[in-house]
Structure formats: C-alpha cells, structure tokens
C-alpha cells in the first residue's frame, strides 16, 4: 500500500479577469498522495491549496485557466477527461467535504433524503434500501438517534453534526478511494473540532481511505497526519513526512509558519 494514488504534476494556472488579463496563481505545483495515508496540504489564504483540490475534481472556478501540468489519478490524467468521465469519478472514486457543511447541504430536503439520493445515484436500488443505508451512515459517524435525525432538515443540525453528515455522505455513502477535505473543522468549536478530527482519522485508518486534508491549522496536522505538503503563494514550498516537517523543517517559510503557529517568540 505504498503506491501513489494521486499525483499532481507541474500544475500551473492563472485567473482570467473579465477584461482578459491573466493573473498567475499557481506555479508548477507538484505533490503526491500516498495510498492509504493521511496527507495534509497546509498554507495560508491565497496559497492555492483549495484551488488545486477543486481542480482535481474538475470543479475549479470558471475564471481559472490551466497553463500546464497534469493531475494523475491511478495514472490517468484527470484534466484530459471530459465531463461525462469526470462525473463517473466524482463520488465513486474521489469525494470531497467542504468547509461549511450546513451551507453545502440543500436546505429544502431532509438530511436523510439527501444521503439516500446520493446513495441511489452511486449504487442504484430502491428508495427504502437507500434510506436504510443513509441512517446506517449517520450512525457510523456517531450521530445519536440517526433515524430521527435523518428526518430533520440541515438547519436543525448544529455545525458539528452537519459536518458529520457531510462526511457520512462523502466517505461512507460514496465509498471513494480518495477523500479530500477542505478546511473541514474551521469555524467549529474546538471540542467539536477534536471530535470531527477523530472521526476523520478513524475513517482513514480503519477504512484504508486515502485522505487529503486541506487546512491552515498546524495543530491538527501535527496530531493526525502522516504526510505534509506546505504551500505558499501558489507554490509548493516543502513536502515530507509529518515528523520531518515538524522536527526538521527545511524551508524558511515552513519554519516561520511553525513558529507563528506555536506563538513562540524569537523562533528561528
């Protein structure tokens, strides 16, 4: 299980303004996601970490123009696939969890219905079987009284619970090989954050799910991740195992980021 599931190769791109000017935002971004590992992509706002993730799924903003590079998933360049092929991959192979779960869920359908819909989309079958799976998924992400919760609407869920439901949808209903999470705990209370991170690491370890965690919080990275990719201003600055990055950071930016995260004065 040490192969690479996903490889980003020299990916560069720019944003096109309404007047046609190009502003380069990604410069030769390259990194790999090891199969079965929990990799963190860290960076501050504007580092481009989310943009690359959106590109993997083919849902990058329309104003983004690729200049060069490939995104290889099991050896296939995702950027060369047409929309139909990408749709087969989304959900079934690669799945994504976004930051604000309550906003990502459709407010007019019950949570259970939304999970069941996705189940049917991915696996087919009848409505009641799908609903059973939906409730089971909610149970597996430790949502108490899953049958009752499945009948509720997103606004009746707290932030943390909604995020669990999203994770249930993306990781359990969909059964992907690669799960990308874009700032899944930002904005949640710290106690809830901790719970969600435990859920994510459980799914990763127990299920052997290759996971990519995009975040700016080095605390959760230190505690949970195997590999780290550090990005700054559209470039990959450093990659390595989590232990190496935290104990022996090579790049000056990485060192400063670590120092700032620890609020240690006068750090190197």
């Amino acid at each position: 299980m040490s192969g690479e599931l996903l490889e980003i190769e020299d990916y560069s791109g720019a944003f096109r303004s309404p007047t046609g000017e190009l502003t380069p935002v990604l410069h030769d971004v390259s990194y790999r996601l090891k199969e079965g590992a929990l990799t963190a992509v860290v960076g501050e706002t504007g580092s481009g970490k989310s943009l690359v993730a959106l590109s993997v799924l083919g849902i990058q903003p329309a104003s983004f123009v690729r200049r060069s590079g490939r995104i290889l998933f099991r050896g296939v360049d995702l950027l060369s696939l047409d929309e139909k092929a990408m749709r087969k991959i989304r959900g079934a192979e690669i799945s994504m969890v976004f930051q604000d779960a309550r906003a990502a869920l459709n407010p007019v359908f019950t949570v259970g219905r939304q999970l069941a819909d996705v189940y049917q989309l991915q696996h087919g079958g009848g409505r009641s079987a799908a609903m059973k799976q939906a409730i089971e998924a909610l149970r597996r992400v430790s949502i108490p009284e899953p049958a009752r919760r499945a009948r509720q609407y997103p606004h009746e869920f707290s932030g943390g619970m909604a995020q669990r439901a999203m994770i249930a949808m993306a990781a359990l209903i969909c059964e992907p090989s690669l799960l990308i999470l874009d700032e899944p705990t930002t904005g949640l209370d710290v106690t809830i954050q901790s719970d969600i991170m435990e859920l994510i690491t459980d799914l990763c370890r127990v299920g052997g799910l290759t996971t990519c965690l995009i975040t700016h919080d080095l605390g959760i990275v230190a505690e949970t991740c195997d590999e780290v990719v550090v990005m700054n201003a559209g470039r990959v600055v450093e990659t390595g195992s989590a232990q190496a990055i935290f104990t022996q950071p090579q790049d000056p930016y990485t060192r400063r980021l670590l120092a700032a995260s620890q609020l240690v004065e006068g750090a190197a």
Partner: protein, 293 residues
C-alpha cells in the same frame, strides 16, 4: 520579533504597490439612456425660451395639417403646432416625473432609514402603512386622489411622489436593517456617532446601490402614470400640452388617417420611459457591490 522586524517577512504586510482603481466602463445602454434623457432635458429647457410657434394658440394652421416644412410634426385638430406643443410638453412630463421621483426618493429613503435602524414601533407602523398604500394599484390610486384633491400641477406631482414612496421606504429599510448589526456600524457608535448619524452617514451610503437602481424604474413608472392621467383628462387643464393629454386629443384622428397627432406624443413617452429603463440597467451594474470601487 517586534512588529517592525516581522514586517514583510511571511506575508507582504506593508505592500506599498500602487492600488488599482478601475474606472467603470460606460456601457451602451448607459450611453443611449443618458443621451436620450439629456436630449429631453435640453428640449424642455429650450422650450422655455423658444418654440417654433406658441404651443397654446390654436388656429395657426388649418387643423389636421400633415407634417410639412412649415409644421414639421403637423398640427392638431385645432390647428396648433405639434412640434411646439411637444417641446412644451417635455416640461410637463419630464418635470413632473423628475420632481416626483426626487421627492419620493428623499421622503421614502429617510423614513425607511429611520424605520430600518431604530426598528420597534416606528418600523412596524411604517411597514403597515406601506402595505396599505401598496394594496392599491398605482394608477387607480393616483386617479382617485387627483379627483379628490383637485387639479393642478402641484397636486399631480405630490400624488406621483406618493406612488413611489412606499418602494423607497421598503428598500431603504431593508438595506439598513440588514446592515445595522455589521461591525462597522457598531464601530461607528464607538467613535462617537449618535444613532441617526450611524444610519445616515455610514449605512445609507453603503446601501445606495439598489436605491439608485430603483430610481429609474420608479421614474419610468411615474412617467407612464403621468401620461395616463393626462390621457384620462385628469389633473391638468384640457389645453395643457402634456403628452398623454395630446394622445387623447388625437384619438379621432387615428381612425381617419391623421396619425401624427397621437403618434408623436406616444413616441415621446416611449422614448422617455425607455431611456429610464436603460439607465436603470446601467446603474444597477455600476453599483453592484461585486464590482469593487
């Protein structure tokens, strides 16, 4: 690391690049709309000092003269020159419209801002009043009130402004209400602004976009209603060269072939209303908050 040492290291904190302020591009709809409107205003102003003939005097021509060099737009049934009447009419239609819109804007926005910021009883009363007003269709309301208070240009202007006040009130109230708990509104209180200044000096300028955009829709509507009232013969005297009135007077001619008596006033109204709509489109694009200024 003191702030000064840390400056510029990790993020370009003190980036001193020249900030880019883009000028808004004037779209075609804006140019056409503004152009037409300026044209109308010019005609109205000119008509104060000069028209080819006296617009109010009949009998200059023989009556129902077709358009010719002497009378470029023909004469009406009584022989009065159409071009002169049309030019004079601009004063009425344009003047009433712009004045009424201005009044409605000021009064409606002010009440709306107060209602939106202070909330409570003022808000409830204002909203209910607006709802009652808006229960009546605009034209019907205008007709009833004009009949009740009597004819005269001042009355017409006031009635027209009332048609618009509820909408400005609602819009302003909504915008202010949604912004009043924003942090810069709180900060404005902390720096010493009394509540009314927070509402008018800080919140209102940031809410002006939708209000301005609505102004042109309101103006188009008022222009139409003014002409409608004139068409029905309400509000202004029978000989007033107001365009709606002129259309009404030319009705018989339409059937018997003297098309120009109703046509040109109608065209004038169409042009005015269209210009307002085009401007409205352009204004709402310009004030779109996503276009950073």
């Amino acid at each position: 690391m003191s702030p000064r040492d840390a400056v510029g290291e990790i993020s370009p904190e003190l980036g001193l690049a020249r900030p880019v302020r883009r000028r808004p591009k004037l779209s075609w709809s804006m140019r056409i709309g503004a152009g037409v409107l300026i044209f109308y205003v010019a005609v109205a102003l000119i008509s104060v000092v000069w028209t080819p003939y006296d617009p109010l005097t009949p009998g200059i021509g023989d009556g129902y003269d077709a358009p010719s060099w002497a009378f470029p737009l023909g004469t009406d049934r009584l022989g009065a020159d159409m071009l002169s009447r049309l030019m004079a009419g601009a004063r009425y239609n344009l003047g009433i419209t712009l004045t009424a819109v201005a009044i409605a804007f000021c009064v409606g926005t002010t009440i709306g801002v107060i209602a939106g910021y202070y909330g409570g009883a003022i808000d409830t009363v204002a909203l209910r009043a607006v709802e009652i007003f808006q229960a009546f269709p605009g034209l019907l309301f205008a007709m009833l009130v004009v009949q009740a208070v009597g004819a005269g240009i001042v009355n017409v202007i006031l009635v027209m402004s009332f048609v618009g006040i509820p909408d400005y009130l609602r819009l302003a109230r909504g915008e202010i209400h949604s912004r009043r708990s924003w942090q810069y509104a709180e900060a404005a209180r902390m720096v010493g602004n009394p509540p009314w200044r927070v509402a008018f000096r800080h919140l209102l300028p940031n809410s002006i976009g939708p209000l301005l955009a609505f102004t042109s829709i309101n103006a188009a509507f008022v222009a139409l209603i003014t002409a409608s009232l004139g068409f029905l013969g309400l509000g202004l005297g029978p000989n007033t060269p107001e365009w709606g009135n002129m259309i009404a007077r030319g009705q018989d001619g339409v059937m018997t072939g003297q098309w120009w008596v109703s046509f040109f006033p109608g065209l004038a109204i169409l042009g005015l209303t269209g210009a307002f709509y085009l401007l409205g489109d352009a204004i709402s694009d310009l004030t779109d908050p996503r276009r950073r200024r």
